[in-house]
Symmetry: C2
Subunit: 319 residues, 2 copies
């Protein structure tokens, strides 16, 4: 993307042009370096959106809930962005896509932008891509951005490095399981939602959670996304949490935290790239063969490579 194209793209993003947002999202998903210039030039115009992470097990109704919250925020005249992170699973059931399709009412609403991201990619590439997507939506004037992730494995905790607050979605079917989730929930959640509250046992689940977190100031809300019940209460709860966190300084330190995580992630990416260049001379393969033949152990091999890289570097810099 040349300087002039970057300028045009930047202008269109700042004007909230959905087609430009969509085409840059594709570049981001493909890891195309051309998008960097636009991201740099829009960056001063970001930092206004409020980013809400929504996570939970498969089948808890996260997408439906986001769909309903989006409608509620639209009533409140807020522009909404949605980034849904699909875990790259061999065993995907296609259910996620089905959920997305239910959101199609919003597709014709220019105040809403919806995008799925596939989580395939190396070196925390997903989080990096999601961060870039958030910046785009933010610069394009979206005031509320939902990031939907599934809560499993290494992907799960990254939501806390991407969002200003995290909503964890549970269901009454989980029953006594919530006991075992206490530490995990306490670490990640700002608001707990018991969705599918129309099902049997919802009150008990809410009571269990209230007892479990009696000492903490968790918000716990029971909703039914499918019946569109208590969605306004949930959104009010989110807004209340936002105001409180701005008041007590937690929002400001969270902002710093997100910036720090982004900077560290970019720094690691750069250091990896440097490393790849330095070991591209074939000396890695020499060590690999020695390890495979058990003539050296991998821990000593790393020390040798590190030493060699360091020495080479200083030699180059001495010129």
């Amino acid at each position: 993307m040349g300087g002039r194209m970057t300028g045009n793209a930047t202008k269109q993003i700042l004007n909230g042009d959905s087609r430009m947002v969509a085409s840059l999202m594709s570049l981001i998903e493909d890891g195309d370096p051309k998008v960097k210039a636009v991201l740099k030039s829009i960056y001063p115009h970001t930092g206004k959106a409020y980013v809400i992470g929504v996570t939970g097990a498969a089948g808890t109704g996260k997408s439906s809930l986001i769909d309903r919250m989006t409608a509620e925020y639209r009533q409140r005249k807020k522009k909404v962005g949605i980034l849904a992170v699909d875990p790259s699973s061999l065993f995907s059931t296609g259910a996620l896509l089905g959920d997305r399709i239910r959101m199609r009412d919003h597709f014709v609403d220019d105040g809403v932008f919806i995008r799925s991201f596939a989580t395939r990619g190396s070196n925390g590439g997903v989080s990096a891509a999601v961060r870039e997507g958030i910046h785009l939506l933010d610069a394009a004037g979206k005031q509320v951005i939902f990031v939907e992730t599934i809560g499993v494995g290494q992907d799960q905790l990254e939501i806390a490095t991407l969002a200003h607050m995290v909503v964890v979605v549970l269901t009454p079917q989980m029953g006594d399981e919530v006991q075992g989730m206490k530490a995990g929930l306490a670490e990640i959640a700002d608001i707990l939602v018991v969705n599918k509250a129309d099902l049997l046992g919802a009150d008990e689940t809410v009571q269990q959670l209230e007892a479990l977190f009696a000492d903490e100031d968790f918000h716990i809300v029971a909703t039914s996304a499918i019946k569109n019940q208590q969605i306004d209460v949930l959104v009010e709860c989110i807004e209340q949490h936002r105001k409180e966190s701005v008041g007590n300084g937690k929002y400001q330190s969270k902002r710093l935290h997100l910036c720090r995580q982004e900077l560290l992630s970019l720094l690691r990416e750069k250091v990896f790239a440097e490393l790849a260049k330095k070991i591209a001379d074939g000396s890695l393969e020499t060590q690999v063969k020695l390890i495979a033949e058990r003539q050296i152990d991998p821990y000593s091999a790393v020390d040798q490579i590190a030493k060699r890289i360091g020495m080479k570097q200083s030699a180059v810099q001495a010129k």
Copy 2:
């Protein structure tokens, strides 16, 4: 661990002492650096075990299958190690633990060592820990090592960097879903198992898979772990795959691949640690604040830090 303790621990590992294996596994899981000395000294004695990755969605019966295969390998007088990687999920149902308990018959058999690893931990720490666990079991004389993982998210593809071959477990309930899994399966699997073959639709699933992979030399085996059916066929199939891969050189290049992945992982870990030291002087925080205030974009901030680190480094080295 002092030199003498390292020597004792090494001797006990090489003698196959299960208690020493267990206590070093705990150190590995805790990320205790003391274990490195033992790993170095046992490394020349490793490289004999055959590592079989077993992956699949939750509920496919992976643990039961490993349980049965272990019994079959014990009949064949092979010593077996099992490392089960539990994904750290907020939403864990405890089902995994239940599966493990079913394996308790093997707990009293000194020819079998079973261990669960929690996948919590930063920087690919799980794979690093599993690799170290494999080396321990290998040095302790286990001839077959199963590594069980759940196939979701970023964790999923790492099994191919840990194991000599990968068995993917499916069930008849998946039905037409397998179509969408073709690319993923082709990338990762050496053997496809349709477990729960006692259920309706098993034959159709096998036929679907055979049609889907007509052009490839996949082994497809239908088993019932719960009824202990076709387990000997599966094990024979694994052994045949192993022999073939040794014969055609694939095993040798896979060995190099695993060594390369381990070396790269250790190298990244070391480079991260170096980076953390270099940016510990507070200059990161300065940039973080500037980013949060939108006075600089994160991409430019990274360039500045990289430049500064490089300069500082050369100044130190010039002394």
